[in-house]
Amino acid sequence: MEHRWGMVIDEDRCTGCEACVAACHAENNIATVGDDQAARGRAMHWIRVERYYEGNFPDIKVKFRPVPCQECSDAPCEPVCPTYASYHNPEGLNAQIYNRCIGTRYCANACPYLVRFFNFLNPVWDKPLNLQFNPDVSVRSVGIMEKCTFCIQRIKTAEIKAQAEKRPLKEGEFNPACVQSCPAEAMVFGDLNDPKSKVSRLSRSSRATKLLPELGTHPKVTYLKRDTWDNGQNA
C-alpha cells in the first residue's frame, strides 16, 4: 500500500522541553553555527518549539508549539525551485535533494512556515565532533537549503527491512527522531493512508487543526489545540 506519512502534535501535551530539537540535531547532522552566526539569525533548527505569550502578569499564559516541516500536500516551496531540488516524493514528502540545490533560496521565501534553513557558510565540526555524524544522512555544505525530512533515512531503512522480511510495515515500527524522543508523547507519527493508524485517528480529533490552514497548503502535520480544564472533564 502507498504510504502517506503524517504527524500529529498535541499542544496540550507539549511541555517545551526541547528534547525534539536536540534529537533532531543528533539524528540529522545539523550544523552548529556558533554564536556569531546565531546572532545574525542563521541558527538551524529543523524543528523548533514556538513560544507565544497570552495576557499580562500575573494572569499570563504561554502556548508551546513544536514546528517541524509541515510536509504540505500542495507545497509552495516545490514549484518555485528552478532545479527541482525541492520536489514531492512518491510518499508525499517535500524532499530536498541537496546536490541539486544551487541556493536561490526561493523555496525558503515561498514557505509560509519558515521551516527551511540555509547553509550561509560551510559548517565547521571541531574534531572529534565529526565522529558523531549519522552515516545515513549527508552533511550539507555552503550554499545549500536544508529542511526536516521526517527522518526519511529511518523511513527507508524500515521499508527496506520490511521488504526483505516480505511483510508490511508495522505501525510504530519506527519514528522520526523528534517523535521517538518526546518525553511527554506529544508527537505521533504514522501513515495517513491507514485509517486505523493512531495518527489518522488523532487527526480526526475535535481538537485537530492545521497551521495557517487558510493558505491551502494542506499540511500533513496536524495540531491538537491546547485543551482547557473544566472540573476534570475535557472542555
Binding site: E18, V21, F57, L131, N134, W229
Partner: protein
C-alpha cells in the same frame, strides 16, 4: 594482551608510516588493528545508562563502524571502531520508558568533545595557569599513591578529602570503602541544586530520606510549588511521561495543573492556572490551602499523619493560616486560596509538588514540610496519583552514604586550620564554579598541598589540581545507577562500555581500585575486586535470588542478561523500607516568612537563579548542541540574560538587550536584560550555567555566573545553601549585551497584526 597489541601496532605502524608518510595529516597517522568485528553501515543498539543528570535514565546507544583518531598506548592513530552515533531512551527502562531529554540526547558531545583531556596530566606551571605536561598512567598512579601513603595523622582522621557529586551507584560504595579503609572522613558531596532540604523533609514527613516520585499519570489535580518538574528538576523524563498521560492520556478525562511561583518557568508555562506567590511564601500558601480543607471539614487533620505532626498547629487546624492571613503574606487573594483548596479536595487524587526555589530559602525545610503535610492531608501518600518513594534494590553494599562535610564546612575547616587537608581528590564535581564567592572555597583550596582530579575537562576546579587522571566518558566505561526517584519499581541500571575509549583515559573506579591495591594493606583488603566490572558483577549477582526483570538463574546467564536489558528492575519490590533518621531538632516546624539578604530599600529585587534548560547547573555548558538549543521561554542561544518584568523595565528605562549590572552585597555581575512578561515586578531571574572561566572552547568566557554573587545564607537545619534568598539592585551599564534570541515575536497576535 597489551603487549601483543603493542607488537601488532608497532608492526603495522612502521609499515603504514613507511607507506603513506605524505599527503593529508590523517594519512600520516598509523592504522591500528581493529579491536572488534563490525559490518560497515549496520547499526547495533547497545544498552547504556545516562549520567547527564542524577535521574539515571536507561539508554539505547546506536553504534556503527567508523574510522576514528584514537590514542592507544600513548600513540595517536586511526582505528576502525564502533562509534556511538545516537542516544535514545531504553524502551524497557522503568524510569524513561524509551524517552530521553535534550541533555541525554546531547550526551554524544561529552564523549566526542574536542576539549576532553586525552592523557594523564601533571601540573607544570603555577596553580590555575592550566599548564600541564602529559605523563603516563604508571607515573600518574605512582604519584597519587606516593602522596596518599605519605599522609599521616595519629589519632585524627587522615587529612584527606574526597570531593564528589551526588553518586547513586557503586562508585559511591567503592569510594566509601576506599576512604574508610584509608581512615579518612567520608566523601564530601556537592552540587549547586542540592536536594538535601527536600530529602530531609521527606525523611521527617514520610520517613524516606529520598527524592519523591509522583504518579502524575493517575493524578487529577497537580499543584506544584516552584518545582520545574517538566524541565530540569528531579526526574524530568519520567515526570513528562506522567504529565502527558494526565493531560491527554485518559480519554474524556483531563487533570488540572496549577503552578505556584514568582517567575514563570518552562514548567509554569504549561499550567492551566499560574499563581504568583511572593518568593519563599509557597509553604504558607500550602498551609492556607490546608487550613481551608480542614476548616471546611473536607478532610480530617489526622489524615496527614506524621507529615501533619511535623507542622506547628496542625492538629488545631492551623489557626494562624486563615486564607486572609495567608493572602497578606503570599499576595494570593483569599478567595483564590479557597477555590484552589476546594478544587483540590474535590478532584482527588491530587498531589502537591515542591522543589527548586521554595526550598532554597531560609524557611526552605518548613516550606517542604508544609507541602508534604498537604499531600498527607489529601491522602495521596503512596496512593495512585500521589507521591511515592522509589524502593531501593536489595544490594548488600548499597547502604545510605555516610553524611560527609558540606563543601562550605570543608572550606572553613581548611582556612581556619581546624580541619586541615593535605590531599584532596576531586571527582565529578565542580564546586569552584558552583559555590558563592562568599564561601571563599578557592582560597581554601590554595591551602591544600596536593589536589588530584579525575575530571574529563579542565574546569574551574580541576584547573587548580596538581594531577589530572582523566576518566572515560560514560559511553566508554562500565556504568551502573540506582534511580532515587522517577519510578515505583526498584531499579538497578547497568551498562557495559558501548564503545572503546577514544583517548588515553582510564575509568576512575578502576584507577581507585588500582591505587588501593598499590597502597596494599587493609586498603587493598577492603577493595578485593580486580576491576569495577568485577565489583558490579558481584553486586548484581546478589539480585539473582529476587523476582525481577531478569529471568536467568545461572550466574553467568543472569549477568549477561542484565547487560542486554540494561539493568535489573522489579515490580514486586514496591515498598522501600522506611529510613527514619533523627527527629527534627526544632519540631514541630513553624513556617516562618523567609529572610532575605540585603535591605529592600537598597536592594529592591529578589534575585532568582534557576537551573537552565540548556545547561542544568552549568555542567552541560561545554556541549555546542546545548549552547545553540534555544531555551524555550527566552529562546536565547549562546547567551546569559537577566529576566525582568516589562513594567519594571519601562519604569527603569531598560530595553531588551541593555547590559545591566546586577549587584548584591557580595558581588556584582553584568548581563543583558530580557523583557519577560512572566516574572514578578520585584523579582529578577537569571539562569545558572554560563559564565565559566575555564570549561573548554564553547563555555569559557561566555556570560556571567549568578552563583558568584549569592549570599552565604543557608537553610538553618540542613545547612543547605539558600540560593534564592539574595536581594540585588540593577543599574544600566549603558551599552548592549550579547543576547542572541532565536525568536522574533513574543505573541501570536502582535501589535502589527491588529487593525488600526
Amino acid at each position: 594482551m597489551d603487549r601483543r597489541n603493542f607488537l601488532k601496532i608497532s608492526a603495522v605502524g612502521s609499515a603504514t608510516v613507511a607507506l603513506d608518510a605524505c599527503g593529508k595529516p590523517e594519512h600520516q597517522l598509523i592504522h591500528f588493528i581493529p579491536e572488534e568485528e563490525l559490518i560497515p553501515g549496520v547499526a547495533e543498539w547497545k544498552p547504556g545508562v545516562c549520567t547527564q543528570c542524577p535521574a539515571g535514565c536507561g539508554l539505547h546507544v546506536r553504534v556503527m563502524e567508523g574510522e576514528a583518531e584514537v590514542t592507544r598506548h600513548g600513540q595517536l592513530g586511526l582505528l576502525n571502531m564502533g562509534l556511538a552515533k545516537k542516544l535514545e531512551g531504553n524502551p524497557g527502562h522503568p524510569v524513561n520508558q524509551g524517552r530521553l531529554c535534550a541533555w541525554g540526547q546531547a550526551g554524544l558531545q561529552v564523549t566526542y568533545n574536542p576539549d576532553r583531556i586525552r592523557f594523564p596530566l601533571k601540573r607544570s606551571g603555577p596553580r590555575g595557569s592550566g599548564e600541564y605536561q602529559e605523563i603516563t598512567w604508571e607515573e600518574a598512579i605512582k604519584e597519587l599513591v606516593s602522596h596518599l601513603s605519605s599522609l599521616k595523622s595519629p589519632g585524627k582522621p587522615l587529612p584527606l578529602a574526597f570531593l564528589t557529586g551526588p553518586l547513586y551507584d557503586h562508585r559511591s560504595v567503592l569510594i566509601e570503602h576506599f576512604l574508610e579503609a584509608l581512615g579518612a572522613s567520608p566523601a564530601v558531596r556537592y552540587e549547586f541544586f542540592e536536594q538535601t532540604v527536600l530529602c530531609r523533609a521527606n525523611e521527617l514527613s514520610f520517613g524516606h530520606h529520598q527524592l519523591p516520585t509522583f504518579d502524575l499519570a493517575n493524578a487529577n489535580y497537580v499543584i506544584s510549588f516552584g518545582a520545574d518538574f517538566l524541565g530540569t528538576w528531579n526526574s524530568p523524563v519520567a515526570q513528562n511521561l506522567g504529565y502527558g498521560t494526565m493531560r491527554q492520556g485518559r480519554p474524556g478525562h483531563r487533570g488540572k495543573f496549577v503552578q505556584v511561583e514568582a517567575r514563570m518557568s518552562q514548567t509554569g508555562a504549561n499550567a492551566d492556572e499560574w499563581v504568583y506567590a511572593k518568593p519563599g511564601t509557597e509553604g504558607l500558601l500550602a498551609l492556607g490551602v490546608a487550613h481551608v480543607i480542614l476548616s471546611e471539614k473536607l478532610r480530617i487533620a489526622e489524615a496527614a499523619g506524621e507529615a501533619g505532626a511535623c507542622i506547628d498547629g496542625w492538629s488545631k487546624g492551623l489557626p494562624d493560616h486563615t486564607p486572609e492571613a495567608v493572602a497578606k503574606m503570599t499576595g494570593v487573594e483569599a478567595g483564590r486560596i479557597q477555590r484552589l483548596a476546594r478544587e483540590m479536595a474535590a478532584h482527588t487524587p491530587a498531589v502537591a509538588i515542591i522543589g527548586g526555589a521554595p526550598l532554597a530559602q531560609t524557611n526552605g525545610l518548613a516550606n517542604a514540610l508544609a507541602a508534604n503535610a498537604l499531600n498527607g492531608l489529601l491522602g495521596s501518600v503512596e496512593k495512585p496519583g500521589g507521591i511515592f518513594f522509589t524502593p531501593q534494590p536489595p544490594m548488600p553494599g548499597l547502604t545510605d552514604p555516610k553524611k560527609g562535610l558540606s563543601v562550605r564546612a570543608l572550606a572553613e575547616g581548611i582556612r581556619s586550620g581546624s580541619a586541615p587537608v593535605e590531599a584532596l581528590l576531586i571527582y565529578n564535581a565542580n564546586p569552584v564554579f558552583g559555590s558563592p564567592t562568599a564561601w571563599r572555597l578557592q582560597e581554601a583550596l590554595g591551602k591544600v598541598s596536593f589536589i588530584a582530579s579525575f575530571g574529563s575537562f579542565v574546569d574551574e576546579t580541576s584547573i587548580l589540581s596538581d594531577l589530572i587522571l582523566p576518566d572515560h566518558s560514560y559511553l566508554e566505561s562500565w556504568v551502573d545507577n540506582i534511580p532515587q526517584s522517577g519510578t515505583t519499581e526498584a531499579v538497578a541500571s547497568l551498562a557495559p562500555p558501548a564503545m572503546s575509549p577514544l583517548h588515553h583515559t582510564r575509568s576512575t573506579p578502576d584507577v581507585l581500585l588500582d591505587v588501593a591495591h598499590q597502597l596494599g594493606g587493609n586498603v587493598g583488603k577492603a577493595l578485593p575486586w580486580k576491576t569495577y566490572q568485577d565489583m558490579l558483577q558481584a553486586a548484581f549477582d546478589s539480585l539473582r535470588s529476587h523476582p525481577g526483570s531478569v529471568s536467568a538463574k545461572a550466574s553467568d546467564d543472569f549477568w549477561s542478561e542484565v547487560q542486554e536489558k540494561g539493568g535489573w528492575w522489579s515490580a514486586e519490590i514496591t515498598k522501600s523500607p522506611a529510613r527514619r533518621g533523627a527527629k527534627s531538632s526544632a519540631a514541630p516546624a513553624k513556617v516562618a516568612e523567609p529572610q532575605f539578604d540585603g535591605s529592600p530599600q537598597e536592594y529592591p529585587f529578589n534575585f532568582l537563579p534557576y537551573a537552565s534548560l540548556q545547561f542544568g547547573d552549568g555542567r552541560h555548558a561545554n556541549l555546542p548542541w546545548m549552547q545553540e538549543m534555544p531555551d524555550t521561554i527566552s529562546t536565547a542561544m549562546w547567551s546569559v540574560w537577566l529576566e525582568i518584568n516589562p513594567e519594571t523595565a519601562d519604569r527603569l528605562g531598560i530595553k531588551q538587550g541593555d547590559l545591566l549590572e546586577v549587584a548584591s552585597q557580595h558581588g556584582k555581575l553584568q548581563a543583558p536584560a530580557l523583557i519577560a512578561p512572566g516574572i514578578a515586578p520585584d523579582v529578577v531571574a537569571m539562569p545558572v550555567g554560563q559564565g565559566h572561566e575555564s570549561y573548554g572552547r564553547y563555555a569559557s568566557q561566555r556570560g556571567a555566573n549568578p552563583i558568584k554573587i549569592l549570599a552565604a545564607q543557608t537553610e538553618p537545619e540542613t545547612g543547605a545553601l539558600a540560593w534564592a534568598s539574595t536581594r540585588v539592585k540593577i543599574t544600566r551599564v549603558g551599552k548592549k549585551g550579547q543576547l542572541i534570541l532565536f525568536a522574533g515575536g513574543l505573541r501570536e497576535w502582535p501589535r502589527e497584526y491588529r487593525h488600526r
